[in-house]
Amino acid sequence: MFFQQLINGIALGSTYALIALGYTMVYGIITLINFAHGEIYMVGAFVGLFATAILKVNFFIAMLIAMLVCVLLGVLVERIAYRPLRKSSRLSALISAIGVSIFLSTLAQMLFGANAKGYPEGVFPVKQITIGSAEISTLQLLIIAISATLMIALEFIVHKTKIGKAMRATSEDYNTAALMGINVNMVISFTFALGSALAAAGGVLVGLLFNAVSFNMGLMAGLKAFAAAVLGGIGSIPGAMLGGLLLGVTEVGGVALGFSSYRDAIAFAILVLVLLVKPTGLLGRKIQKKV
């Protein structure tokens, strides 16, 4: 029973983590809470759905297409809605982000209707595997495996590649990064691209897991992933991963213990509790005031 719930929790949590990474990376670089990020995830789920239903491609190709489309969308949103406001107050960019969020979900509702849609049957053949007393589906294993792979790839990019190092430098000190010859606008675009790709993958995986894709799915998922990012320490990449997993596991655990009607409240209750004890989040760094 415990093992079963743990796997359920990790599978759900890794999708939160995938979305949370986008919030945390963008915040780390331009201190903006990208409220449109949940809608990127929603668009990813729809693109994956259409790719499997209309283009009839297999699941992995569909996920790649979704990631690619969302990379373009994420970069475009930054270009149009955030970059012109870079030098204005932070509140202006935040309001712009909320605007983009409303725009994208309304557009999705107009185009695709208000009803939830499911992925075509057999996109990913689900089998149940019994390990001890636990029944685990191959879909859950797939979700965990893909999320883990993407997160390892992200760690590699951030720590071993030139552009990844430039991302870390820019998130530490924007002006000094520019003094190194780093094109900070390009780095910011790259950050949006990475975050959007991860969110798209998350969208496709969740669409499969719950077999429901709808125009408003980005709202709650976005809020929870944001909570996960803050829980782990906003700006911290390992923090977002940890926060996502922790949130998933406690949410599933709470439901298993009989608090299923409080399912969505659990995430935010944990957030409030952790922030009371540790305001910077679990792995968050002390915020240094930049002079």
Binding site: K162, K165, A166, R168, A169, E172, D173, N175, T176, A177, A178, L179, M180, G181, I182, N183, V184, R285, V291
Partner: protein, 234 residues
């Protein structure tokens, strides 16, 4: 090499620079001295493109560089060691140096350059895997200078290299600055420690509230009674 012509910079309603004109010739060390708030750092940041220029122009190697983005200015050959060193605290010494070489793509040449920085600053070699935030102030200054040299600048801008360092370290840093200059890098130096700055500079400009009030040969300035009274603590 570098010419600033009637440069004006505003911070909101505050006029930070009022018609600054100055020049740096190839091979020189030029010092900018003056009290806090005189506009010294603003001049360096205007040259580097970090802050916008209201009017006037910056010319480097016969090309106008005012108005182009900071990363392009680095590519033209101007590198800055910012005030307060600004090393990337959560990156290792080696990664900091790699960031300094960001505009370059020749891997073997970058490794060679890193070796040269380590030869100049042996302390950094000992600490190459450590995070920059674990270094002492002097070591951070060395790292910031090494990092700036990684792009092989023609002109190096140094902002308050002596800030917060013990007198012995200050001497060491200043002799390294002279070495860097002797090996062919032109230097523009901003300092509050006017004594030290004038002792190594060829020429200097004295700034007061955003204006050049005195300029000339560093030795003559150091002998000037007005300067001695206002800036050299006599």
């Amino acid at each position: 090499m570098l010419t600033l012509d009637k440069l004006y910079v505003n911070y909101g309603a505050i006029k930070a620079l009022k018609s600054i004109s100055c020049r740096v010739e190839t091979g020189e060390i030029v010092a900018l001295i003056g009290a806090n708030g005189a506009g010294k750092t603003t001049i360096l940041n205007a040259i580097s493109g970090i802050i916008p220029i209201f009017s006037g122009s910056v010319t480097f190697l016969d090309q106008t560089i005012s108005g182009i983005p900071p990363h392009e200015i680095v590519k033209r050959g101007i590198s800055q060691v910012p005030e307060g060193r600004r090393v990337f605290a959560n990156m290792s010494v080696l990664e900091n140096l790699e960031m300094g070489a960001y505009i370059r793509n020749d891997k073997s040449a970058i490794l060679e350059e890193i070796d040269q920085v380590f030869a100049r600053f042996p302390r950094l070699f000992e600490r190459k895997k450590q995070l920059a935030k674990t270094l002492s102030g002097g070591e951070q200054q060395m790292l910031a200078m090494g990092r700036a040299l990684m792009s092989r600048p023609k002109l190096l801008l140094l902002d308050e290299p002596s800030m917060g360092l013990a007198p012995m370290l200050v001497e060491q840093i200043f002799s390294i600055i002279q070495e860097i200059n002797a090996s062919g890098t032109t230097i523009m130096l901003v300092e509050q420690n006017a004594n030290m700055a004038l002792s190594i500079a060829h020429r200097a400009y004295v700034l007061e509230t955003g204006e050049v009030v005195l300029q000339g040969d560093a030795r003559e300035l150091a002998a000037n009674p007005e300067v001695r009274k206002a800036y050299l603590g006599e």
